[in-house]
């Protein structure tokens, strides 16, 4: 069943149409890739889903519920988590605390119980720590829990963002260029990680430029160019689509 449905999404900035009447669906339990040349509007689509931008028109439906225009933190509570294209970690805080940020929306302790450190608050903290450590172990960063985020290698910082996103117990995760800056070895590990995420029951939507990774791990692809969808389908079908080839490589006069 369709977990995420985008219908006629449009977003303009000043005179620029960044997202042009985009419609697509993501089936539950699948791994879908959103690809296209630079500037095609992929991250803007992500930002529209997560509520960072409000669309000029169109809707975002998640599990049958209309999430269009809701504040971002509410969307996270509903079950959509994300990573950022430019890494946005809390650089001066520890790895563990970064992941705890993901736990935040699943906890309830408010001002008073925190001020007076009630028993339920302490118990909840403990459960959050367990959750955070679990996610760190899942991505392989547990040993670095006390390090400051800014001291991690670039590839590990991306993993940390994923751990933070997972900590909010999402049903749907959006990864924005997760392999950016990773070498081949790290990318291979990332592929395994993405599959493991899906195996946990979390649907994955990702933007990626690394075609090797995209072809290996995605079950469906959506191709954007200049803000509009130009192709959808299995990786093999999309790879052979002449419009896609033209978008990436430019029209080939010899053919």
């Amino acid at each position: 069943m369709s977990l995420l449905r985008l219908t006629n999404l449009t977003k303009t900035f000043g005179g620029l149409i960044a997202v042009n009447d985009v419609s697509m669906t993501v089936e539950q339990g699948s791994i879908v890739g959103l690809i296209g040349p630079n500037g095609a509007g992929k991250t803007t689509v992500f930002n529209l889903i997560t509520g960072n931008y409000k669309p000029d028109s169109g809707t975002v439906e998640f599990d049958g519920e209309d999430l269009t225009g809701r504040p971002t933190h509410r969307i996270v509570v509903r079950g959509i988590a994300r990573t950022f294209q430019t890494i946005r970690l809390f650089q001066n805080m520890s790895v563990l605390e970064n992941v705890l940020a993901g736990c935040h929306c699943r906890m309830k302790s408010g001002l008073l119980s925190s001020l007076f450190r009630t028993r339920s608050q302490r118990a909840e903290e403990r459960r959050a720590l367990e959750r955070a450590v679990h996610e760190l172990e899942f991505v392989g960063l547990a040993a670095q829990h006390a390090n400051l985020a800014r001291n991690l290698s670039y590839g590990n910082q991306r993993l940390l963002e994923i751990a933070r996103a997972l900590a909010s117990d999402p049903r749907f995760i959006i990864l924005d260029e997760p392999a950016g800056g990773m070498n081949d070895h790290e990318t291979a590990q990332l592929i395994d990680l993405i599959r493991a995420i899906r195996d946990r029951g979390i649907t994955v939507l990702l933007i990626e430029h690394d075609m090797g990774l995209v072809m290996k791990v995605c079950e469906q692809l959506v191709v954007l160019e200049y803000g509009a969808v130009i192709a959808q389908g299995t990786p093999d079908a999309v790879k052979a689509d002449p419009r896609v080839i033209e978008a990436y490589l430019g029209a080939d006069d010899d053919l």
């Binding site: 997560t50 960072n52 504040p71 971002t72 933190h73 996270v76 509570v77 988590a81 994300r82 950022f84 946005r88 970690l89 809390f90 650089q91 001066n92 805080m93 520890s94 563990l96 605390e97 705890l100 940020a101 993901g102 935040h104 929306c105 699943r106 906890m107 302790s109 408010g110 001002l111 925190s114 001020l115 007076f116 450190r117 608050q121 909840e124 903290e125 403990r126 959050a128 720590l129 367990e130 450590v133 547990a142 829990h145 006390a146 400051l148 933070r164 996103a165 909010s168």
Partner: protein, 322 residues
């Protein structure tokens, strides 16, 4: 209990005996330090933890002090009973005033908070609601009474103020090491990432203001009781600057830093009274120098340690953040 806490306990106990060894003038100085410490700790929530540039804290202080004064002088409410009311009113004021400006970016927020504190001061001078006594302020505020004991000498106020400060330190220490405290730090570090991780940034920023204001309001009660006279000049922009400086120079987000800052910034000028007029000059130069040479403040906060025994194999950590 580990060594670090034991050290703090000993230092606190030693400090508590100080009035026995110093004359009342210096006790009063310590009382002023204590008041500023409470104020700076409350500002620390907003500025140090949440990272919001707030230079209008004296406005909340003023609301608390004047609420106390009016309740006590006009309605004969005992001073200590007025304290929660002062806090609540200051908190409500913060809620109303901060709500429309909470989304403003750093330096713009700064300017608006300056505007707020000045408007409050001008309103007080102009005898708003016909209650504030104008430029002369309100006098005749009663002394606080605790179980029939009248608190009026500096040494009495020492224990009242520093007792309140100790409670403040304990509660805020707990708050820092909780979900609430972390949320404020996430907002300070990267608001977009915080919101994207599920933190309701608008609500927490407002919450920080309201909490900080509540405490500043209560500090206002202590001030009113100690001085028995209050007037608008005690709540000017420059008071806000002092509080702001204590937090920044002491160490944003660090209770120890803020305490040290209060002692230095309020206490040192007293020590160097002879150079009285040049104090502020040195103050200003020191601010510039601090920013150039030690931006993080004198005692920046140590990273939190989390007790992961039982959660992660091979973990030996047993310290918690001091």
């Amino acid at each position: 209990m580990n060594r670090r806490y034991a050290m703090y306990m000993v230092a606190a106990a030693a400090f508590a005996t100080m009035p026995a060894f110093i004359n009342p003038y210096w006790t009063d100085v310590l009382n002023t330090v204590g008041l500023y410490a409470i104020l700076a700790l409350s500002l620390n929530i907003i500025l140090g933890h949440a990272g919001m540039f707030h230079m209008g804290h004296a406005a909340f202080y003023a609301v608390g002090a004047y609420t106390t004064a009016v309740l006590n002088v006009t309605f004969h409410v005992p001073v200590l009973w007025a304290m929660p009311a002062a806090g609540v009113l200051a908190a409500l004021f913060a809620l109303v005033v901060a709500r429309p400006i909470i989304h403003l970016r750093g330096d713009y927020l700064l300017i608006v908070t300056i505007g707020i504190v000045e408007i409050v001061r001008i309103a007080l001078v102009n005898n708003i609601f016909d209650m504030t006594g104008g430029a002369n302020g309100i006098f005749g505020i009663a002394r606080p009474e605790l179980f029939g004991f009248k608190i009026r000498k500096p040494v009495h106020f020492f224990y009242l103020i520093w007792g309140f400060c100790a409670v403040t330190i304990l509660l805020f220490h707990w708050l820092e090491n909780s979900r609430f405290g972390r949320a404020l730090n996430y907002i300070r570090e990267d608001e977009v990432a915080a919101e994207g991780s599920g933190v309701n940034t608008a609500a927490y920023k407002l919450g920080a203001f309201v909490l900080g204001a509540f405490w500043a309001g209560m500090a206002g009660t202590l001030f009113a009781a100690k001085m028995t006279i209050i007037s608008p000049e005690s709540f000017s922009f420059w008071e806000s600057v002092v509080m702001f400086t204590i937090v920044i120079l002491g160490g944003m987000g660090s209770i120890r830093g803020v305490l040290l800052g209060a002692f230095l910034i309020v206490g040192l000028p007293e020590v160097f009274r002879e150079l009285a007029s040049a104090r502020m000059l040195v103050f200003g130069a020191a601010m510039v120098a601090m920013m150039i040479f030690r931006t993080q403040g004198l005692l920046p906060p140590a990273p939190r340690h989390y007790d992961l025994r039982g959660i992660m194999s091979g973990t030996q950590t047993r310290e918690e953040r001091a």
